[in-house]
Amino acid sequence: MKLLDSLRFRMAALFGRAQIRAEMEEEIRSHIEHRADDLVRSGLNRTEAERRARVEFGGREKCKEEIHEALGSNFIGGLLQDVRFALRVLRKSPGFTFAAVLTLALAIGANAVVFGIFNGMILRPLNVPQAESLYGTEYGNNPGWQSYPNYLDLRDRNRSFDGLAAFNFVFPGFDTGKNPSGSSGYTTSGNYFDVLRIQPYLGRFYHAADEHGPNSAPFVVLTHAFWHSRFQDDPGVVGRTVFLNKHPFTILGVAPPGFHGTVSFAFVDFFMPIVNEGQIYGGSTLDERGSNVTVFEVFGHLKPGVTLTQATADVNAVGAYLEKTYPQDFSHKSTPLSRQGLTVFGGAVTAFVAGLMLLAGLILLAACANLGSLFAARASDRSREVALRLALGSSRKRILRGLFTEALLISLAGGAVGLLGSVALLRRLSTWQPIAAAPARLPVAPDAKIYLVALLLAVVSGLLFAIVPVRQVLRANPYEIVKAGSNARLGRRMTVRDVLLVVQIAICAVLVTSSLVAVRGLARSLHGNFGFEPRNAMLLNVNLAMAGYSGDQASAMKRRMFDAMGTIPGVEHVGWVNDYPPLAYGSNFRSNVYKEETTDLRQANTAATPFRYNISPGYFEAAGTSLLTGRGFRWNDDKGSPSVAVVNREFAVKIFGSVAQAMGRDFKLQDGTRVEVVGVVEDGKYLSLNEDPQPAIFLPALQSPSSTFYMVVRSERDPEQLAAAMRSKLRELDAGLPVTITTWKTVLSLVLFPSQMATAALGVLGMMGAMLSITGIFGMAAYSVSRRLRELGIRVALGAQRKEVLQAALGRPLKLLAIGSATGLALGIFAGKVLAYIVYQATPRDPLVLGGVVLAMLLLGLVATWIPAQRALSIDPLILLREE
C-alpha cells in the first residue's frame, strides 16, 4: 500500500509537474489566507493582514524550490529539468552548439569507424565457433608447409592440434550448364569443415572419409552468398551437377551464412576437395614434396591446454624431422603460427589499425581540448550570470550540474551523428570490392559493439571537456565579479586554455605530418621503378584449360594469339608471361637455384631462391623491362634447344659477383638442369612494393608450357579502343575463349591497395586535424580580440599603429601556434617511424614534407586569425568607449 502510494506520487511528480506546481501554488495561497483570517480576527484590516501574512510566509519561490528538492531527489525529474535548461541555453547560441556538435560528430565518427575496422579485422576475423583457438601457418614465408606431402606428415605427426586442415585458392570456370563464368573457390583437405566445427546450412559437407586418392571426390560445397546470387536460394541445388573447368562435380551442400572461408578478407564462391585439384589444373602437385604452391595455409584448433609456444615448438620439431628425412625436397625454416584469418598480413594489419586507433584517439583528444577551451571561454563570458545565480542562492553543485548536462547533451548529439555516419560508412566499406580482379572485401560490417563504443566515447569526451571550466566555477566569487564586471581577471600568465590550445595544435601538426608523409610515400610508390612500365600496357588474361585447350594445342593457340595481337595497328610490342606477371595477385613462384659446382642438390645448399617467370620472346620489350646486357629470348629457345635464362641484376651480383661476370655462366635448377645465363635485366618489384631488391630469373615460356598466362600488349592507343580491337581479333580465333582484358595499372591496384588505404585514412585524419586546429585557433583569437576590444580601442585612440594593434591582439595565439607546431612536428617525425611500416618509402625527413608541414601550419594560422585580425583592425575607439 505504502509502496503503491509512493509509486503513484512519484509518477505524479514525474509526469504531472505542471499540476503539482499549480497545487503547490494554491496550497500556499490557502495558507496565507488562513493566516490573514487570523490576523483580521486580531484586529488588522484585510489588506494589511494579507500583506503581513505574505511577509511572514517568506520567500515563496525558495519554498517551492525546496519542495521540488524534497520531491526531486527524484533523479529523472531533476535530470529532465536540467536537460530543459541546458537545451534553452544551447538554443541561445546556435553557432557554438552547431560547431561543437559537428566537431564531436567528426571526432567520434572517426573513432567509431576505426573501431569498426579493428572489430571486424582483428577482434572477430573468422565467423566460426571457438575462433580464438584456431591457429595456423602463415602464407608467404615458405617454411615448407606449402607442399601437400609435408602437410600430411604434419597432420599425422603433430601432437598439438585437434585435427589439421589445409586449403588453397582456385579460380576455375564454373558452369551450371548454360552460363560458364569465372569463379573463386578453395581446394581443401577432406577434414576442412570438421576441423572448423561448422555445420552445413543445407545438404551435407564432405569429410576425410570421402577422399580415396586423386580425383576421387568430385564434390563442391557452395558458400551461402554464392548460393544466393547464382542459384537464387534454390534448395534443389543439392545433388545437382556443375562443371569446373569442364569436369563434372556434384553439389553436396551449402555452407552457413557468414562463413566465407578461412581468410577473412577473401569472399569465395565454393569449396572442393584438394585431392581433385588435378581436374582443375590439368595436372597435380599433390605428390611433390618440394612444391611451394599446393597448399596456401594449414590450420587447426589447439588442443585444450596446449600453449602457442608448445604448438610452435611441436611444428618446428616435425619440420626438423622432415628436413632430415627428405633433404632433397625440404629445407625447414622456423615456422611462426598465427591466428587464422589474416594470414601473413596479420602483423601489418594490426600495426596499421593500431596506428589508426592512435591517430583517431588523438583527433578525439584534440576535439575535447578544443571544446574544453570553448567551454572555458563561455564559462568566463557567463561569469556574471553564474555570479548572479550564486548570489541569488543557487548552489555551485547545481550550476556545475547544468554545465555537465550541457556538455553531455552536446557530446551525445555529436556521438549520435558521428555514429550514424560511421555505420553508413562501414556498411559501404564492407560491400566494397577494392580490387576488381580479386574476390577480396573488408570484413568490417558494423555490429552492436560499435554502438556501445560510440556511446562510451561520447560520455567520456563530454565529461572530459566539461571538467575544464569546473575550477573556474568553483573559484568564482560572486561579489567580486558583479562588482568588477567580466573583465576583472585579465591574466598574462599561461592559462589552462593556452595549454589546451598548444596540445591541440601539436596533435594537429602530428596528423598533418603523418598525412603528408603518407601522400609522399604513395606518390613515390606510384612513380617508383617496378622493373617494368605499367603505363601504355594492356594485360590479356586467358585460361586455355578453361576453354578446353591442353598440351601442344595450347602452345599453338598461344602463338596464334601472339601473332594476332601483333597485327593490331598501333601495337608496338607483344609478349606473354606464364601464370602471373610480377606484382599481380598470386605471382610468387620461386625456384631453388644452385651454383654450377654444387652436386649435392639438397635444400640446405641452395644458392638463392629467386622469383621465377616463364616468358615468351618479346616480353621484355612489351613489359618495358630494360636489358642491361646480353639478349632476350628467341622463338628457337624451345624444348629442343639448350636451357637458357635471363636473370636480374640482383641475381647476377648475388650468384656471380657482377653483371659482367654472369654472362655465359651456368647455374642449376632443383632437378639438376644446367641453365646458361644469356642476358641480365634491371631489378624490379615482384611480390610487394616495399620489398628489398630480390633475385629473379626468367626462363623461356616455350620450354615449360602452361595453360594460364598473361599477354602484355604495349601500345600508345586509347585503352578502350585497344581492348575492343583485341577482343575482335580474339573472336576471330575462338569465339568461346574466356578472356579478361585490363590495363596493367588496374592489376597493380592489389599491391597499391595498402598504401592507398593508408594514404586515404591518414589524409582524412590529417584534414580533420587541420579543421580542428583552425577552429581552435580561430576560437582563441576571436575570443582574445573580443575580450580586449576596449583595451585595443584605447590603444588605437592613443595612436597605436596597425602593426602594434595586431601584435597586441594576435601575438599570443600566434605564439601558441608556433610552440604547438614545433612540438607537433617533432612528434610527427618520431611517428614517421611507425608510418614506415604501412606506407612505402615513408620518411618524414623529407624536406618536402617538413616544408609542407610548416607551410600548412602557417596557412592554418593565417586562415584562422584572418577574421579576428580584421575585427581588431576595424576597431573604432569612439563607438567602443561610448558603449561602456
Binding site: F9, E27, I67
Partner: protein, 113 residues
C-alpha cells in the same frame, strides 16, 4: 527570543506526524497545532513546513485531499496513513529512549561515575 527551542534536525517530520495523528489538518492548521501542543515553545517557520509535508507525502506516511476548512476556504487536508501511524509509534519510542538516555547522562553527578 530564546524561550523558543531550536528544532533539532529530523524533528520536524516527527512533529508533523504527531500533529496530524490527532485528526486531519491543513498546512496552516498543522502549524497552529504544533504551537498548541508544544505550548508555543516550538515555532516552525511557515515556509519550512511545506517541503516537510511533501517529503512525508512522497514517503507514503501522509495522504492528502482537498476539502473546505473551518474558515470556509479551500484547503488541502493531511492525515496519517497506516505506515505513517507505524512510523510515528517507532519514532516516538526511539525519541523517548534518546531523551531519557540524554537526561540520565546529563544528570549524573561526578562522584557517581
Amino acid at each position: 527570543m530564546n524561550d523558543q527551542a531550536q528544532l533539532l534536525p529530523g524533528t520536524l517530520d516527527l512533529l508533523i506526524l504527531r500533529a496530524v495523528s490527532l485528526g486531519p489538518l491543513h498546512g496552516y492548521g498543522i502549524l497552529l497545532r504544533i504551537g498548541q501542543i508544544s505550548d508555543n515553545a516550538l515555532l516552525i517557520e511557515q515556509g519550512a513546513l511545506y517541503p516537510g509535508l511533501f517529503r512525508l507525502l512522497r514517503q507514503g506516511l501522509l495522504k492528502a485531499s482537498w476539502g473546505t476548512s473551518e474558515n470556509n476556504r479551500r484547503a488541502k487536508f493531511y492525515e496519517l496513513t497506516a505506515a505513517g501511524r507505524k512510523r510515528l509509534r517507532e519514532e516516538t519510542e526511539s525519541w523517548n529512549r534518546l531523551v531519557s538516555a540524554m537526561a540520565s547522562a546529563l544528570s549524573q553527578q561526578p562522584e557517581e561515575i
